[in-house]
């Protein structure tokens, strides 16, 4: 991150900051849940931009493929299947609002203090690392790490994905015979 905002990197950083934080606020505050999903898409894309600024080219592409395309589409499918009716407005009790505000303020202060005070070991990358990063990117080093040092977590992650797939199928399966009586009654009157 260069000190001047006039460089291309600084300009990109400013734009990405604006879009990511604005998108995050949109996710939380948007009146319609579909707008929320689109704001989330903007956040994911700006995250990919941040990854590029931080020497993570492969992860930026994965971010666009998995989050910005895959996850957003899955969420939109979920929205379509559950209907987009607005929730009824309900007054929140002031005690709950105060507690939530207090907790959030505490956590924010804690995280900011943590970020400001964490000692970071100084580091200057050696010329070969810089050369590899400039010429071929991070893909080769990532693959080597993933299949040597992190082989066990990699295999466990594959088992986790298999389990999650089967679990999601089982959970979302249709149980016609044991459906909720009210749902069946609604289906008959329709």
């Amino acid at each position: 991150m260069s000190s001047s905002l006039l460089t291309l990197e600084g300009l990109l950083f400013g734009v990405l900051t604006f879009t990511s934080l604005g998108g995050a606020l949109g996710v939380v505050l948007a009146p319609s849940i579909v707008y929320s999903a689109l704001a989330l898409l903007i956040v994911f894309l700006s995250m990919a931009g941040f990854f590029v600024l931080n020497n993570a080219d492969f992860l930026a592409i994965v971010q666009v493929m998995v989050y910005a395309v895959g996850l957003t589409i899955v969420l939109l499918f979920g929205l379509m299947l559950t209907g987009n009716q607005p929730l009824p407005k309900k007054p929140t009790s002031p005690l709950c609002a105060w507690l939530a505000g207090l907790g959030l303020t505490l956590i924010t202060t804690m995280l900011v203090a943590l970020v400001q005070t964490t000692p970071v070991v100084p580091h200057t990358p050696d010329p070969t690392t810089i050369h590899v990063l400039m010429s071929e990117g991070t893909l080769r080093s990532l693959g080597q790490l993933l299949f040597t040092q992190y082989l066990l977590p990699f295999e466990v992650a594959s088992v986790l994905l298999l389990g999650a797939t089967i679990g999601a199928l089982v959970l979302a399966r249709r149980h016609d015979e044991e459906a909720h009586p009210r749902a069946i009654a609604e289906g008959e009157t329709r």
């Binding site: 950083f13 900051t17 990511s20 934080l21 995050a24 606020l25 996710v27 939380v28 849940i33 999903a37 989330l40 956040v43 994911f44 995250m47 941040f50 990854f51 931080n54 020497n55 993570a56 492969f58 992860l59 994965v62 971010q63 998995v66 989050y67 996850l71 969420l75 499918f77 979920g78 929205l79 299947l81 559950t82 929730l87 009824p88 309900k90 959030l104 956590i107 924010t108 995280l111 900011v112 970020v115 970071v120 100084p122 580091h123 050696d126 810089i130 991070t138 990532l142 790490l145 993933l146 992190y150 992650a157 999650a164 797939t165 679990g167 999601a168 199928l169 959970l171 979302a172 749902a183």
Partner: protein, 116 residues
């Protein structure tokens, strides 16, 4: 205490490099947490969870870039978080579907079976 002044200076530089990203990640995380607490729509809560996971990924990657570019372990960790968040989203949405089939709503205030 034992730190030399030159060391302190380089440390400050290293922190400065990642600090803007860490600040943004903090803000994103807190925004996601606020949405998770405030929202009553189950799918919006899932979205806020993804926001928080993304903030953590940004911390891992920016610190990896600022502190230890020789060793890309931070990026590998980010890949694992990405995998787990994909699994979480799939299972979470399946749970939302199951809940919606039972209650015909996505309002968390309607899910009261465990209330005594």
């Amino acid at each position: 205490m034992m730190m030399m002044s030159a060391d302190a200076a380089t440390t400050a530089v290293a922190i400065n490099e990642a600090l803007p990203y860490l600040t943004i990640a903090t803000l994103l995380f807190v925004t996601g947490l606020a949405g998770l607490i405030v929202s009553r729509h189950v799918i919006r809560m899932l979205m806020c969870l993804e926001l928080m996971l993304n903030a953590v990924n940004l911390v891992l990657i920016s610190l990896n870039s600022a502190v230890a570019l020789n060793d890309l372990s931070g990026q590998v960790f980010a890949i694992f978080i990405l995998t787990i968040s994909a699994a979480e989203a799939a299972v979470g949405l399946a749970l939302v579907m199951a809940l919606y089939k039972q209650h015909r709503t996505v309002d968390t205030d309607a899910f009261t079976q465990l209330k005594g």
